[in-house]
Symmetry: C2
Subunit: 173 residues, 2 copies
């Protein structure tokens, strides 16, 4: 029986940064905790980013995850929202790097395919499957927390695949 791994998932946003912690032991995945760091639109930008940084730092300190799954972002509705999301992502990733987590970035397509098995899945389909995979009583709310758990699950699967490939390689030697 392999040791469980704790994986953090983050869905960064300036107003709402979702996070989730899953425990992975072999192919079994369960949810340890999830939540959302909300910041007030009227507050100075540096304080809002510091809240995100502090919030993620506190989650890492509490649950000691060793790996991170996060959605890669390359597109956005507009430059203004891209900059806002980028800043939140920067604040969160500084906290992650400070704690030495291994980072896996996944495209929205990879996350959808891993969780629903289909790259054009709706938000609702993803949330339904996140709930089913983690055997939760209800869909995690807010949406940001569900998306964060989705990124963590995606990382768990890619990680297992990579592990299997490297074990096969060793066995073949």
């Amino acid at each position: 029986m392999s040791q469980p791994t704790f994986i953090l998932g983050i869905d960064p946003g300036l107003a709402n940064t979702g996070w989730g912690i899953i425990e992975v032991a072999g192919s079994k995945k369960s949810c340890l905790a999830y939540g959302c760091i909300s910041t007030a639109a009227g507050d100075p930008i540096d304080l809002r980013l510091k809240q995100i940084y502090d919030g993620i730092s506190a989650v890492i300190e509490r649950y000691h995850p060793t790996e991170l799954g996060i959605e890669s972002i390359f597109f956005s509705a507009n430059a203004k929202s891209a900059i806002a999301t980028g800043q939140a992502r920067g604040a969160a990733l500084v906290a992650v790097a400070g704690a030495g987590l291994e980072v896996g970035e996944y495209t929205p397509l990879q996350i959808k395919q891993t969780i629903v098995g289909n790259g054009v899945a709706t938000k609702e389909q993803i949330q339904y499957m996140v709930r089913a995979i983690l055997k939760l009583d209800h869909v995690p709310k807010p949406d940001h927390a569900a998306d964060a758990l989705g990124a963590a699950i995606c990382h768990a699967n890619f990680r297992n695949d990579a592990l299997r490939r490297s074990l096969k390689k060793e066995a073949a030697r």
Copy 2:
């Protein structure tokens, strides 16, 4: 004679984050130091952001600025560069907020008007004036450092204006 104030200027970018420190005493401004934090395109994103955070933290620890001037960004050539710049800005601002600096954000137009007196100034005109205002032997290089010093000078002027207005208000009471 008022106590000098040390102002940090930052020009954030994922590949190159320029910084500069100016000393302001009354209307006199001088340059204390400037530089650029460069990160390698091939390195993981979290490590690159951590380098920016660590670099800005080290500058603050060394020069003890109490205020920051930074360009506000709302537009960008494309979403990809907006996200990259946003992430760098987020990492830098977390360092600034952690050290408790007062933050002044200025539009590109405000910076150009403050430094050159003209909102359509070219990059070369700004660099020429940054050099002249700070009485430097040569134009600060790289461009990111010159832009960072420009943001710091802009903050110094807006700050003096605000100070004068509040003194006038007090005198009128």
